[in-house]
């Protein structure tokens, strides 16, 4: 436990903040389904209004919780990773620490590794709770791509990459607050990048009705087909719809004369395939960025 105590003594505020955020969100995530179920029952208590107010008008309470988890996924590694090197460099203890250690690499491995273990433990607890809440929200169906990136392994790989990026930024800049600001910008960029990368080379296919309506597929696009199965454009589909409604008005036209919506994407049953590819890419990127941080530390001039 010496390393754990020492790790905490070196970054008490960061670790305290991270523990508060992760454990707080975990408790909220684990209790929210039962709270919402109680509020949906007859004779719901008055404090249910607070829960609905919490979710409104930006969306439901579950959605807000996932949004908070999504923010924590980047904020937690940022707060943990940036001070590792910046605090040592700013206080000019880095040269002493590096000279006392057998090698700078060994020092960095211990210093960053111990914080990473603590961080992954806390983030892991939050990721598990998010996974559980997603399963509780859809008890009889395959989760598929539901809340992808905000639960389970996908959450942890993103957090790991953000941690590595924070470490690298701290190593390059060497000052705490500027590194935090640059890291914040990096977090925004990283969140946008991981949003556009899926499905990581997995070929989209035409989704069946069962795959579209259940199992949370990853949708990449859509198209239309005429009633005879011929592919048609959006404008042709709109014209066909309008003509059908005019012809049958005031009754509704039968489905057989209306154009069909066709969705393309990855079925929810193939989620694991995409997850493995994504994890490989993100872990690979993490290793690369950690390598950059290590190279910077190795070559950094004494201050």
């Amino acid at each position: 436990m010496t390393w754990a105590r020492l790790t905490f003594r070196l970054q008490p505020s960061s670790i305290g903040f991270v523990a508060l955020v992760c454990l707080g969100l975990t408790v909220l995530t684990l209790n929210l389904p039962s709270m919402l179920a109680e509020c949906g029952s007859p004779g719901a208590p008055d404090n249910c209004r607070v829960i609905h107010l919490f979710g409104s008008p930006l969306g439901d309470a579950v959605g807000m919780t996932y949004m908070a988890i999504g923010l924590a996924m980047y904020a937690v590694p940022l707060v943990l990773g940036v001070p590792i090197l910046t605090s040592e460099i700013e206080r000019r203890t880095a040269m002493i620490a590096w000279s006392l250690s057998a090698s700078r690499m060994r020092w960095l491995a211990w210093r960053a590794g111990s914080v990473l273990v603590v961080g992954l433990l806390l983030i892991g607890v939050m990721a598990l709770a998010a996974e559980w809440m997603a399963a509780a929200d859809a008890p009889d169906t395959d989760l598929g791509f539901a809340q992808h990136g905000a639960r389970g392994i996908s959450l942890m790989t993103r957090a790991g990459l953000m941690f590595a990026a924070s470490l690298a930024v701290g190593a390059v800049v060497g000052r705490l607050l500027p590194s935090l600001l640059i890291g914040l910008a990096l977090a925004v960029g990283l969140s946008m990048a991981v949003a556009v990368l899926p499905p990581y080379g997995v070929e989209p296919t035409e989704l069946t009705a069962a795959e579209t309506n259940g199992g949370s597929p990853f949708t990449t696009g859509g198209a239309y087909r005429a009633p005879d199965g011929t592919p048609i454009s959006h404008d042709e589909a709109a014209a066909m719809n309008m003509a059908a409604f005019e012809e049958y008005s005031p009754d509704l036209p039968p489905d057989s004369v209306l154009p069909q919506d066709v969705s393309y994407g990855i079925a929810g049953s193939r989620y694991f395939e995409v997850l493995v590819r994504e994890s490989a890419v993100l872990v690979g990127a993490t290793v690369l960025v950690v390598g950059i941080a290590a190279a910077v530390v190795q070559r950094r001039r004494p201050e």
């Binding site: 505020s13 903040f17 707060v79 607050l177 500027p178 935090l180 600001l181």
Partner: protein, 344 residues
């Protein structure tokens, strides 16, 4: 003058990175605002037949009127551009609070954390004088940047809604104009106070984010209560094809029901009292059930509390005074903390 320049240079050197990054951020956002303002104006100039009347928002336009089919694509593109432009106004809302965290929190915390505070305080005639000189440059610099952003946000708002008199309009209240800069005063000083209390940079930055958010949420709730006491009660007719101008330009404080007795209750309060305003009918009448509609038994009228747009300058000034007063209070508190703080 030489002394002031020396202090300015020293303050700049001590927070060079933060100041440069903040300048970059503000420059980027301001440039974006001006670009969108120019783009929207140009789009309306190029397509007057499709975009005429769009510059007033919903003001004076009956809901059932729609544009010509040929203009759909142009109008869609315009609204998409306008939507992106509106996001920059949200950035203007958040900017003062960000300034408080980035510029305010490390001001004193860095000196204490770095161990230079006792030396600096002993070399200065008084700790309070040191604090004021330390804050002055950064606070003025931050406020100047916020003022630039405030002006750009007004220009963007005017470009999005050129047919409205925005001096008498609560649209994007708090996201443009004087309030952007005034809140900066409050946020920066709160950040300084948190930094002075905590005395370490990273904890101060993290804590100031929470403290600034909580304080301004509290201030906002208090202002909402004040607004509610000064608002005018007006009826709403949800069946009407056109929204009244006051609902578009005014500050809607609360929505609810005007009961038969003439009392205003919010929808939540109505449910608490056992009323069930489930249905709205012609003329804004509110009914509890379909049977009540058939019988003509209504429990009140849809209504809302609103502050008319003509009072916009008054409320901007009032809220700005609150924010500046909050800042000065925080500054005084920070002074007390610095004066009484033990050398670390």
């Amino acid at each position: 003058m030489t002394g002031a320049l020396t202090w300015a240079r020293l303050s700049y050197r001590q927070q060079m990175w933060e100041l440069l990054l903040v300048v970059l951020g503000v420059a980027g956002v301001t440039a974006g605002m001006l670009w969108f303002a120019n783009t929207l104006t140009a789009m309306r100039a190029v397509n007057p037949e499709c975009l005429a009347g769009i510059g007033g928002g919903f003001l004076g336009v009956p809901m059932e009127e729609g544009p010509a089919a040929a203009c759909q694509a142009i109008i869609g593109q315009y609204y998409e551009t306008e939507s992106l432009a509106s996001q920059l106004l949200n950035v203007a809302w958040a900017a003062p609070f960000g300034m408080g965290v980035i510029l305010g929190a490390p001001l004193v915390a860095r000196e204490i954390d770095g161990g230079t505070a006792p030396l600096a305080w002993s070399l200065s005639r008084s700790r309070m004088g040191w604090l004021l000189r330390r804050i002055a440059y950064v606070a003025l610099f931050g406020l100047a940047l916020l003022a630039v952003m405030a002006v750009a946000s007004e220009l963007l708002a005017a470009a999005i809604l050129p047919d409205r008199t925005l001096d008498e309009d609560f649209t994007w209240f708090g996201r443009r104009g004087l309030l952007v800069a005034a809140r900066g005063v409050g946020a920066i000083m709160l950040g300084v106070l948190v930094g002075a209390i905590i005395g370490r940079v990273l904890p101060a930055v993290l804590a100031s984010a929470f403290v600034i958010a909580l304080v301004f949420i509290g201030l906002s709730l208090a202002q909402d209560q004040l607004n509610q006491s000064q608002a005018t009660l007006l009826r709403r007719d949800l069946e009407s094809a056109q929204r009244p101008d006051v609902e578009v330009t005014g500050l809607a404080v609360a929505y609810g029901i005007e009961t038969i007795d003439g009392e205003f209750v919010s929808y939540n309060e109505a449910f608490d009292r056992g009323l069930e305003p489930n249905y709205s009918g012609v003329g804004g009448k509110v009914y509890e059930s379909e049977a009540d509609i058939a019988a003509g038994r209504f429990i009140g009228h849809d209504a809302f509390l609103v502050i008319p747009g003509e009072r916009y300058p008054e409320l901007v000034l009032r809220d700005s005074v609150f924010a500046v007063f909050l800042g000065l209070t925080a500054l005084a508190a920070a002074g007390v903390v610095v004066v009484r703080r033990r050398p670390a």
